[in-house]
């Protein structure tokens, strides 16, 4: 039995960078891919993870035992059809039910923008998305899924977006937990957060590593105030969002605010997904927060009165309005079109409710850029107000620290974050929890050596016998020695009594006896000497079994004592002490007593 070496992570695009997530974990001889994301900031090959890390040629099926997708955002699942259909993977892909429902819609939407609008080739097709989804096995919360005889996975509620999950991956006694983003508010959901499962490694995203965010309510109030002020002065508010996720929560927020303040300005939600998206939320209501679940029978929160579908002609309408438009980082599509139209007026406002990847317009304006180069050399002056509101539920420092406290990992691995911020969090984790924290760069491998304990089946007879030796009530805090034989046979370990071991292995028992001769002078006859020894031992060794046998021997437990004298000198006596291997512990006691007696 030796040390078992644990987990290796060749990372692909999920290292010290925010963009796409794809992590490969090797644990107990199994290879698992965690997420298969796409980078929104690139339009070329760099968009997809580099699968040549896994294999230069051929399909991935032989190298991967399973793929697990944490949630439906494209930076976590966008490369899935490319990986399974174009590179080639036929094994199981695990994701939760809501992710399975929404993922193909977002993929198709994304495909349309890329292929139909931008005219790119060498991209996956609609059929590939369908074929890929056929390989998906839905995961239920807390269900223990046996991928094969040794590999098991279990999903926990993560509360990031609808259907987001943390996963616990286990092979034998080694385990890894992977989580995208822990929402602190996840705890308010009925499902328990995560058990104290003590994984060897906890892998967490660290997008907002340095932010310790203020309360959610504060941010909500701030958001409503900004929207309200802009509307009051006759401006237009653009909120670029992803069709599913935070958008629905912001809609609920605005809907109730409009109702309460009796506001008349129109709110629009950009076309296509709206109704469908809300429908998903209705059907997967068990995956939303407690408040929404509780009231759903009386009033479904996703049936909006004030929010209407958007038509592109509305963008030119005069007067105030609020528009939710996709996509969320202003990198293409409707949100970008509206932005271009409204950017020149300082009365207007754009609110970015989530993180923006480098290279996107969203990222540029958040960094204060006021002149944007557009296609065809045109420049765009940004005069409207730009506001950033961290509503996107990525993990922040507080959430990650809390998660570590809950799960008690032995090692920590940070991914999906910017190097500087991750460095800060790494220091904080190492200081507070004294565990090793890794932050590998893209393509780098982090190896963690695990030191698992060895499962053994102990015979109940042996256990009971050994327990009985320690008295009626064993002290659980005190270590005790126990004797037994460890048998290793066909990959199983058994701890049994030596008698049973001999029997099972078909071996004969050999008695090992030691004999010791002690020479001494004693004038008495042999039987008298023996009797003296007997009575003395009897008086000194209380609590031992001491017998004087008719064949002229004395027995102390298993030690046999005999006396003989030489033919020449009857005073010269030879004392023979013989003991078995097991009786060794009493022997020296007995010998000392006998010697002391004789030399008196």
């Amino acid at each position: 039995i030796g040390k078992i070496t644990g987990c290796v992570f060749p990372l692909q695009g999920a290292g010290q960078d925010v963009g796409r997530s794809c992590i490969l974990v090797s644990i107990g001889g199994k290879n698992i891919m965690l997420d298969c994301g796409m980078h929104m900031g690139y339009n070329d090959d760099r968009r997809f993870p580099d699968f040549s890390y896994i294999t230069q040629n051929g399909r991935l099926t032989d190298f991967l035992d399973c793929v697990i997708i944490s949630h439906f955002h494209l930076d976590h699942c966008g490369a899935l059809p490319y990986m399974s259909e174009m590179v080639g993977y036929d094994g199981p892909i695990y994701m939760t039910h809501p992710t399975k429902a929404i993922c193909p819609i977002l993929l198709e939407d994304f495909r349309k923008i890329t292929v139909d609008k931008k005219g790119e080739t060498n991209f996956f097709t609609s059929q590939m998305i369908k074929d890929c989804m056929k390989k998906v096995v839905p995961l239920n919360l807390h269900q223990t899924v046996q991928v094969d005889d040794e590999l098991e996975i279990k999903a926990y509620y993560a509360g990031h977006v609808l259907g987001a999950a943390m996963v616990h991956i286990k092979v034998g006694s080694e385990s890894v937990v992977y989580t995208v983003s822990v929402n602190k508010y996840a705890k308010s959901h009925i499902s328990a957060w995560i058990d104290k499962c003590r994984p060897d490694i906890l892998i967490s995203e660290s997008t907002y590593a340095t932010t310790i965010r203020d309360s959610k309510r504060c941010r909500e109030r701030d958001f409503l105030k900004k929207v309200h002020e802009t509307i009051e002065r006759g401006g237009k508010v653009l909120i670029p969002v992803f069709a599913l996720g935070r958008a629905q929560e912001l809609c609920i927020l605005l809907e109730t605010f409009w109702e309460r303040m009796n506001l008349k300005a129109p709110i629009y939600f950009s076309t296509g997904l709206t109704e469908k998206a809300n429908h998903y939320y209705k059907l997967f209501i068990t995956w939303t927060n407690q408040k929404i679940r509780k009231t759903f029978v009386q009033r479904n929160m996703f049936e909006f009165k004030h929010i209407k579908a958007f038509d592109r002609s509305y963008a030119d309408n005069p007067g105030p309005m609020v528009v939710f438009a996709t996509p969320g980082m202003l990198h293409a599509g409707q949100s970008l079109q509206i932005f271009k139209k409204w950017a020149g007026n300082e009365k207007n406002m754009v609110i970015m409710p989530g993180y923006c990847v480098q290279g996107t317009i969203g990222h540029k304006i958040l960094n204060g850029q006021r002149k944007l180069e557009m296609e065809g050399r045109a420049t765009l002056d940004v005069k409207l107000q730009v506001e950033y509101m961290s509503f996107s539920a990525h993990a922040d420092a507080k959430g990650i620290m809390q998660l570590i406290r809950m799960a008690e990992p032995r090692n920590m691995l940070l991914v999906h974050g910017e190097a500087v911020k991750m460095e800060f969090l790494k220091g904080k984790i190492e200081q507070e929890f004294s565990i090793d924290c890794y932050m590998p760069a893209n393509g780098e491998t982090a190896t963690v050596t695990t030191n698992p304990s060895v499962p053994v089946d102990i015979s109940l007879n042996l256990l009971k016998r050994e327990m009985a030796l320690g008295g009626p009530l064993p002290d659980p805090k005190k270590p005790r020695t126990m004797h037994g034989t460890l048998i290793m046979k066909e990959n199983s370990l058994k701890l049994v009594s030596s008698e049973q071991a001999l029997k099972e292995l078909g071996l004969n028992e050999h008695q090992l006896r030691f004999t010791c001769r002690v020479q001494l002078q004693d004038p008495h006859s042999d039987p008298d000497t023996l009797h003296r020894i007997y009575t003395h031992l009897k008086s000194v060794l209380k609590g031992y079994t001491i017998q004087h046998l008719p064949d002229g021997t004395v027995m102390v437990e298993s030690i046999v004592i005999k006396v003989s004298s030489s033919a020449e000198d009857t005073n010269a006596k030879v004392l023979l002490l013989s003991w078995s291997y097991q009786g060794g512990e009493y022997f020296f006691t007995a010998l000392c007593i006998v010697k002391r007696l004789m030399y008196q």
């Binding site: 039995i1 223990t144 429908h279 059907l283 029978v297 060895v454 499962p455 015979s459 370990l493």
Partner: protein
């Protein structure tokens, strides 16, 4: 290892398993058949029921005219209906560590156990079981509290007096354990002790035993349970079904290699084919409506009703019933219909795929949208003004002793145009109808029980091969009324171990090994000798 049997009802079990120093209660079924001995609780004052003569023994020595009433040739107790609780004297119920619930019908006694016995443990159930179980409890409490009855009849329970009463009261058993319904407060407190679990989730109990629920295919979120240690395995099979209805199919393979399999919850209608019954249900319904009569379907507000509505959804057009109003009346009707749509993970594959579209998994959403199906919390309020005849009414309680159904019995019982169709198998329909006799209305009995029948269960046991089977004694002999049907019992080798209420069984178990772990520090020092 011991099994304490606290309920004698084979489909509403309550057993306690002592295994490796943990005490596990398996289900918490409440035997409601006791309510058949009580007078119905009318929602609206009923001159007929209020004028019933009191009962006095023939020789005049026993006068219980306040407690017992003579109605349609039978004697009924005039008090709030009472339920027969699981046995509480057989063992100290405060020592129970956990309660495992298999489906929402088998948890109705929970408040009696968790609230009044010193219970401090945890209850495990799936989310649909908890939510729908809560609705069913809420419904019963509501039915009872809507018609408060101050009187609590106790004199008749006196052994000496009960002996003198006419049947079936005379033969009622354990009457002293019968209790009134719990309150909503007790329900909430009991359900706050529930910890949710998902199928195939492994729950560790004190590091000694692992329990895990498996899909049983009978109702939304229904489960069988595996209770195991590293070397021993007990399977607990409660209401299970192999038919394709709305729930996720039954997980059979995980039951393999059990040392002991505890088998409860087989079909109560072994000779009635559910599909045939469904057909009969539809044709009787259509016939009555065409003749201008009303149809009354006494039912629980969750479960088979979803399948009935789905069947009707397909049937309505072809039978040209498009204009007939369908009413579902229950304090929890709306909740039940809404809840059924949000448990996609717990549904059969077909229904799951609908959610991906996204469409509601059950077609009753469309019936409601097109106004073909309307639901009301009770007969009072909106219903009384919107109600049109002829119509079809689904309402509870299936015992016909309380709930809105009592009103419809009084209203429609006198006309031979109307029909009552029994679909729930829990109550004998003749007993249920007894206090309403003589009735002019037609009675149709189409009990739909999708649980395993004897044929299916023998096949299942052959496949999963448990070493020993434990089951209620009712399953080891043919039904009393069909004593020649040897196919309606379990025949196994070795023969099953039967139990009855208050049995304590020693389960045949030989534990030989226990799992321990060698610490890495120790295992590094192990030197091995090849032999």
């Amino acid at each position: 290892m011991k099994l304490y049997c606290l309920s004698g009802h084979p489909t509403l079990p309550c057993n306690v398993l002592k295994f490796k120093s943990t005490t596990i209660m398996l289900d918490c079924g409440l035997d409601t058949t006791s309510v058949l001995n009580f007078l119905p609780l009318p929602l609206v004052h009923s001159p007929r029921l209020s004028k019933l003569p009191g009962w006095i023994s023939k020789d005049g020595t026993i006068n219980l005219e306040k407690e017992l009433k003579d109605c349609a040739g039978r004697v009924f107790v005039d008090s709030q209906p009472e339920f027969c609780l699981p046995e509480r004297e057989l063992l100290d119920l405060s020592t129970i560590d956990v309660i495992l619930i298999s489906n929402y019908h088998c948890m109705m006694a929970l408040p009696y156990i968790t609230e009044h016995t010193g219970f401090t443990g945890t209850v495990y159930a799936t989310e649909p079981t908890l939510q729908i179980g809560r609705l069913l409890m809420e419904e019963v409490v509501n039915f009872m509290e809507r018609v408060p009855k101050a009187q609590s009849a106790t004199c008749w329970k006196n052994k000496e007096i009960q002996r003198m009463l006419p049947g079936p009261l005379k033969d009622a058993v354990d009457v002293w354990t019968w209790k009134r319904c719990y309150s909503m407060q007790e329900v909430n407190s009991a359900l706050s002790k529930v910890q949710l679990v998902g199928y195939s989730q492994k729950v560790e109990l004190f590091g000694a035993v692992q329990v895990s629920p498996l899909s049983s295919g009978y109702s939304l979120g229904s489960s069988n349970w595996i209770i195991q240690s590293h070397h021993e395995k007990v399977s607990y099979v409660s209401g299970s079904s192999l038919l394709t209805t709305h729930p996720q199919p039954m997980d059979q393979s995980s039951l393999k290699n059990s040392d002991v399999l505890i088998l409860t919850g087989l079909t109560q209608m072994p000779t009635a084919n559910p599909d045939g019954m469904l057909g009969e249900f539809c044709s009787n319904l259509a016939m009555t409506i065409r003749a201008g009569g009303n149809v009354l379907v006494p039912c629980y507000s969750s479960g088979v009703i979803y399948d009935l509505l789905e069947c009707l959804y397909q049937f309505i057009e072809s039978a040209s019933l498009g204009t007939t109003p369908f009413y579902f009346i229950s304090p929890v009707a709306n909740s039940s219909l809404e809840f059924s749509q949000i448990f996609a993970e717990w549904l059969c594959h077909n229904k799951q795929t609908k959610v991906y579209l996204p469409e509601p998994p059950f077609p009753h959403a469309e019936l409601i949208q097109t106004n073909k199906l309307k639901h009301y919390p009770s007969i009072h309020g909106d219903f009384s003004s919107e109600f049109r005849q002829p119509c079809v009414v689904f309402t509870g309680h299936p015992s016909l002793r309380f709930g809105d159904v009592v009103h419809f019995m009084e209203l429609w019982g006198k006309s031979s145009l109307n029909t009552i169709i029994f679909t729930e198998p829990d109550f004998s329909y003749l007993d249920a109808l007894a206090p309403y006799q003589p009735l002019a209305m037609k009675c149709v009995y189409c009990p739909i029980d999708t649980r395993l029948n004897f044929h299916q269960v023998s096949k299942l046991l052959k496949e999963v091969q448990p070493l020993h089977v434990v089951c209620p004694e009712q399953y080891t002999q043919p039904p009393l009324t069909q004593s020649h049907r040897s196919d309606l019992m379990l025949e196994l080798q070795p023969p099953p171990m039967p139990y009855r209420r208050c049995s304590v069984l020693n389960l045949p178990f030989r534990r030989r090994y226990e799992r321990v772990y060698i610490l890495p520090e120790v295992s590094e020092q192990v030197v091995h000798f090849p032999l």
